[in-house]
């Protein structure tokens, strides 16, 4: 075949694509949120036994999700459900889709997932739901029309305002601060950062100046390097907020072994086991987190309640979540676990996760 002919084929193929009409951003209708549920909830329906539930974290071998998984498995034991944890080894936007499809293929009753990217998982989740899989998101939500219920660890406002308060207290109310986040598209991180900015605009935080938001991609080494970069780029930096367990641990490790130890303050969301030694050696004064195992536990109970027909995800429905008591579904199918716990030198030894 003539080389020109090969090229011509490719070009004509490309041109053929232009022959159709005109689809632009303005002409296409926007998707609207909100799950639609044709089925009616029966609050008195018994929780079924032997339910098959897939637990799909953002990535496996992430300490935070390992703890959440323990909670999910504990709930599974109480519910006599078969809870199966699986997931990708990287937190890329699309890595979870294969596992969602597999859950649908395995005819699981429910899928409990923390979404890496709210939109990238949505088509697969919708397809799984159309095949009868109930979808519960936790920690990081997917597009609302792609899941039945979202288990929110704490209200964005409570978390973000708490973080700003912690760093303000730690640095004495004035100075430059920076944020070390996870991936640029992490739904929860971005919601918190927005609230933090609103908080910082309040008069009581007039002394604080946010100079940079860096992204460590929830990767230990990247977060470590970004911390280094922040300190070099901003010599007057007084404090760092890292609202991610991977980021805060990496930042603490860097600070504790550098000249900035004690001079630059750090707070964030971390697990007590990760952060214990940095709290004890004075690198970190305080940090916060909810108990991820309770999050996994609640999400699994919600999944069982959905699969048993107790709830459909509509606002106002109530369900019992074992030891945690009764929860009510709020607007947009959201359930809130509760306010986060603040860990300091005084109480950190009471926690083991």
């Amino acid at each position: 075949m003539n080389p020109r002919l090969v090229l011509a084929l490719v070009v004509s193929g490309a041109v053929a694509l232009t022959a159709c009409g005109g689809t632009t951003k303005d002409s296409s209708s926007q998707q609207t949120g909100g799950a639609t549920n044709a089925a009616k909830a029966d609050p008195n329906a018994p929780l079924k036994e032997g339910l098959k539930i897939t637990f799909l974290p953002k990535q496996v071998n992430n300490p935070y999700f390992t703890v959440a998984q323990k909670g999910a498995e504990q709930a599974g034991t109480t519910l006599k459900a078969e809870v199966k944890a699986t997931g990708p080894s990287d937190a890329a936007a699309s890595s979870q889709v294969t596992y969602i499809n597999t859950a649908a293929q395995q005819k699981q009753n429910a899928l409990v997932i923390s979404a890496n990217d709210a939109n990238a998982v949505a088509p697969a989740l919708k397809s799984a739901r159309s095949q009868g899989v109930k979808v519960v998101t936790f920690d990081s939500d997917a597009a609302p029309d792609a899941r039945d219920v979202f288990i929110n660890q704490a209200r964005s406002n409570d978390i973000a305002a708490g973080q700003v308060k912690l760093i303000s207290d730690a640095i004495g109310g004035s100075g430059e601060i920076a944020i070390l986040s996870a991936t640029p598209n992490a739904t929860n991180q971005n919601a918190w950062i927005e609230v933090m900015k609103t908080e910082l605009a309040k008069p009581e935080y007039a002394g604080l100046k946010l100079v940079e938001t860096a992204y460590g991609n929830d990767d230990d080494q990247t977060s470590f390097q970004k911390t280094q970069g922040l300190l070099q780029a901003h010599p007057n930096l007084k404090g760092i907020i890292s609202p991610t367990t991977v980021g805060v641990a990496a930042a603490a490790r860097y600070l504790s072994s550098s000249e900035y130890k004690g001079k630059v303050q750090l707070t964030g969301l971390g697990t007590p086991n990760q952060m214990r030694k940095f709290v004890q050696d004075g690198t970190v004064k305080s940090f916060a987190l909810w108990d991820p195992s309770k999050l996994g536990y609640l999400a699994t109970y919600a999944a069982a309640a959905l699969a048993s027909g107790q709830i459909t995800g509509a606002e106002g429905e109530k369900f019992k979540a074992g030891d945690l008591g009764e929860y009510t579904i709020g607007a947009k199918g959201e359930v809130v676990l509760g306010p986060p716990t603040v860990f300091t030198k005084d109480n950190i030894d009471q926690f083991d996760f």
Partner: protein
């Protein structure tokens, strides 16, 4: 006897083994239409990019920038969409942009005589960087369902995903180009003995340039497929995918030194890697094991074709 020792025959045999053990160990869920559809979706982009890359590698070159071209095209789709362009204009423009990326690779390799490994490692970083410049760290997700449904629904009345149908059409075109045309013979000749090819009147530089342009254009098509499949245009789409594609091509029996290999083998290689991965996930194999198995398969992919070749020589 000789044909029994061809690597392609071994691949088909392996495929049958995987299919049968998969079918038995999952109580029929593996070869179920729905699962094959998902499997097809998972390997769609790899199958697409593997086609031109096969020709590039047969010609004795390599292109490691393909996944970055995919990411750049995805970012461009999102950026132009945000700018209010119609998708019918965006798609050809993005494919042309991909071809330009390929042409840059090709010109650096053929005109400046640089090794393609070094050039495309450079453009791997360059194109990914450009993608981040274009779209930053945002994601564009509000594409119309009439386009994104190509990534979530099969061809009407079948279990065949659209990307696989597209790959099949292109596979026929690339198959004819490589195996049934003088262009294809030239590609083999260049890979086997570049000097010899030049002295027999083959326009080596021009053919290599065309191959790089094709790789770029098809990578851009894969970027469009990827974007609609996940309804998410992002600069970091498909990071690391080039390794999966190169692995599939090598597993397919294409010699990394050029001059040897077939498109049929490559398609079998893509199917084998994708099928094995799908089966392991379906059987709840842990991610660690999955990574190890993929790594071992890569080693096999480099070793086995040369072993079968040695065996074939021994039998003659």
């Amino acid at each position: 006897m000789r044909s029994l020792l061809r690597w392609e025959t071994a691949l088909v045999f392996l495929l049958i083994v995987v299919a049968l053990t998969g079918q038995i160990s999952t109580d029929g869920a593996f070869l179920d239409g729905g699962n094959l559809f998902y499997l097809g979706l998972d390997i769609g982009e790899i199958a697409l990019i593997a086609l031109p890359l096969t020709l590039v590698i047969v010609a004795g070159e390599i292109d490691l920038s393909v996944a970055s071209v995919l990411g750049l095209s995805s970012a461009l789709v999102g950026w132009l969409w945000n700018a209010g362009w119609p998708l019918e204009t965006i798609l050809p423009v993005v494919i042309v942009a991909g071809a330009v990326c390929g042409a840059v690779n090709g010109l650096l390799v053929t005109r400046l005589g640089l090794p393609s490994l070094a050039v495309t490692i450079g453009t791997l970083a360059l194109y990914r960087g450009l993608a981040l410049v274009v779209l930053g760290d945002t994601a564009v997700a509000d594409f119309p369902a009439s386009y994104t449904s190509f990534g979530t629904t099969p061809l009407p009345g079948t279990d065949i995903p659209y990307p696989i149908a597209l790959a099949a059409v292109l596979a026929v075109l690339f198959g004819i180009a490589l195996h049934a045309s003088s262009f294809g013979r030239s590609v083999y000749a260049i890979g086997a003995n570049e000097e010899g090819a030049r002295f027999s009147g083959i326009r080596v530089k021009r053919i290599k340039l065309i191959l790089f342009v094709l790789a770029g254009a098809v990578a851009a098509v894969a970027g469009i497929v990827y974007t609609f499949r996940f309804s998410s245009a992002r600069a970091d789409n498909g990071v690391g995918l080039e390794l999966a594609v190169v692995a599939a091509v090598l597993l397919g029996g294409v010699s990394i030194f050029g001059g040897r290999g077939s498109l049929f083998g490559v398609l079998a290689g893509v199917l084998l890697l994708g099928g094995l991965r799908n089966l392991l996930i379906l059987r709840d194999t842990s991610t660690e094991v999955l990574t190890i198995v993929t790594g071992l398969l890569l080693l096999v992919s480099v070793l086995a074709p040369s072993i079968t070749r040695t065996l074939r020589k021994a039998t003659t």
